[in-house]
Amino acid sequence: MSKNHDWFLIYYLNGVMSVDVKIELEGGDMIAYLNGEIDHHGAAKIRNDIDLRVEGAHPDLLILDFTNVSFMDSSGIGLIMGRYKLMKDIGGALKITNPSPQIKKVMKLAGIDRLAVIERLKQKRRSDYFDKK
């Protein structure tokens, strides 16, 4: 049996968890901590949550944090581009932090690095929300 067997089981269980988002305000910045796998199914779920909070608070900067995102396909690009347009409409900017190499590959293919700053943080972002949980 392949030595990858257990690893796949863990990966599978991660996958069925799908995706959720926790949103926090820090000064004028809004940070959306994404968690899970972003595909067409998952993107639809978190899109509304982010938009409602952005439209309510009108932040200067929206940070999409990918530290806890294990997978993303081109549906995630649609999600990022949609939020980029929304931030542009309200006169704000978009930043992306800590995407994995696979996710960065998808982002570069779509030219996201030309629309938004993609940042690798030395100190991994941690939401207070997850600490309290």
Binding site: S2, K3, N4, H5, F8, Y11, Y12, G15, V16, S18, E37, D39, H40, H41, A43, A44, R47, F71, D73, S74, S75, I77, G78, L79, M81, G82, K85, P101, Q102, K105, V106, L109, A110
Partner: protein, 143 residues
């Protein structure tokens, strides 16, 4: 020569997107692929299955047929087929950023991602009959 194969049939529910890509990736685990190779396979399968769900069966639930094969020399073959509405113009559909979706939430990059992440992509489609996507890749020899 086919060394091993797997067939999977699933309804076009978006909740099956993660199941489909993980099932295909798990099947190829026996070749001991690298993490990058597994990511590439998962992403390409996710794109093809999402196309069938979003475009093939736009307003209905239909079946998606996945056939994965391990061929000689660590070559992998994945066929993803639907019996949905088909594609009007395949050449146009394969152009980066082209999408028929009006909501602005689809990037139009599905085929571009499949082409970039796999070695080869073939698309066959007939209006009203459905679409077949064939993805192939040779995995790197492990030292």
């Amino acid at each position: 020569m086919i060394k091993n194969e797997m067939k999977l049939q699933i309804p076009s529910r978006s909740s099956n997107e993660s199941f489909a890509r993980i099932a295909v990736a798990s099947f190829f685990a026996q070749l001991d692929p690298t993490v990058d190779e597994i990511s590439d396979i998962k992403t390409a399968v996710s794109e093809a299955v999402t196309n069938s769900i979003v475009h093939g069966y736009m307003n209905e639930i239909g079946d998606i047929f996945i056939h994965a094969k391990i061929l000689d020399d660590d070559r992998i073959y994945i066929r993803i087929r639907d019996k949905g509405c088909g594609i009007d113009d395949i050449k146009q559909a394969m152009e980066p950023m082209f999408t028929t979706c009006k909501t602005g939430e689809r990037s139009g990059l599905g085929f571009t991602v499949m082409q970039s992440f796999m070695d080869n992509l073939k698309v066959r489609s007939r209006k009203g009959k459905g679409t077949t996507v064939i993805l192939t890749k040779t995995l790197k020899k492990r030292i």
